[in-house]
Symmetry: C2
């Protein structure tokens, strides 16, 4: 979520421009953006507007995406200790493992529910789907009128733009993972 694109754009832009053997002057002429601005963007000192970046992309004869694409590492290890969990007042603790990724369209949480706790979700944004994989304790999920009970190892999928409730009726904590997919 807290994510700054400017260094990525800068790197991509500088790399692409050099690859095409263009000087700041030349690219400025091709794109209609001043070379001072292009230089600043390459150094990550400026946060360009979409129109400016669009013109640069066109001048470079490159897709807009090429400039903003993060080109993330093939492997990403997330340490539980490096994550700051979000604990709700109702006893649900949310551990965001992979937060929303722009190109992929989903995010993954690990969730812990205190004994005898209930969490009500009003319903997420339209067209979203929720995948729940239970792996410790018992979990009861109610979607609209229907109620489902999941034991460790069970899984469920439902359209989460409708109201749904998580309930842990047991004396032990319940742990599960959820994958939220947005269409």
């Amino acid at each position: 979520m807290m994510y700054d694109l400017t260094p990525i754009i800068g790197e991509n832009l500088a790399k692409l421009r050099r690859k095409k053997r263009l000087s700041l002057d030349k690219l400025s002429e091709l794109s209609g953006i001043s070379k001072a601005m292009i230089g600043q963007i390459e150094r990550g000192e400026s946060n360009p507007t979409v129109n400016t970046l669009w013109k640069i992309a066109s001048g470079l004869r490159v897709s807009f995406g090429k400039l903003i694409d993060a080109n993330q590492p093939a492997t990403e290890l997330v340490r539980l200790n490096d994550i700051t969990p979000i604990t709700d007042t109702d006893g649900m603790t949310l551990v965001p493992l992979f937060s929303f990724d722009n190109d992929k369209g989903f995010e993954i949480f690990s969730i812990i529910m205190a004994p005898h706790s209930v969490h009500e979700a009003a319903g997420h944004v339209g067209g979203s789907e929720e995948y729940v994989l239970s792996f410790e304790g018992d979990l009861e999920i109610t979607v609209e009128t229907e109620t489902y009970t999941l034991a460790a190892g069970d899984a469920i999928r439902f359209k989460s733009d409708q109201a749904h409730t998580y309930r842990n009726n047991s004396d032990k904590i319940a742990k599960f993972q959820t994958i939220l997919y947005y269409s």
Copy 2:
């Protein structure tokens, strides 16, 4: 080339936000961008920075591309009379039929060469390819050291990051089309 993204972004954003049934307030909270700004962007009154638009996209749980994608009409008719041709001093007239499109990666020109004219191209940006379709008169093309002669109906493809020369040796004009592709 002269292209303003802001009305497109505005339309896309308003449509997506309503589809997900979010108010300006709610989306502001989700994205961390003030609702005043979001409103202005939707009305096309603001040209947001990439970081701002990125945050909005993430808040909306939507890909960045969804906001800037032009969703262009299935069919696009280009009238010759509506185009302003670019005539070079060396007798080459360029008619840009479909100028560079960000997602497609190519552009299409129609070209007319005056009798006994020569056009030298130093070599375009790295990795570009040129497709030439001759359809009136005679055309001679030199790529690096090799020279090719095209009659009406002939075609040629070559990597255009090397120097190349167009030559019309005849007493009549030569007409052809070129497709420029950028990798």
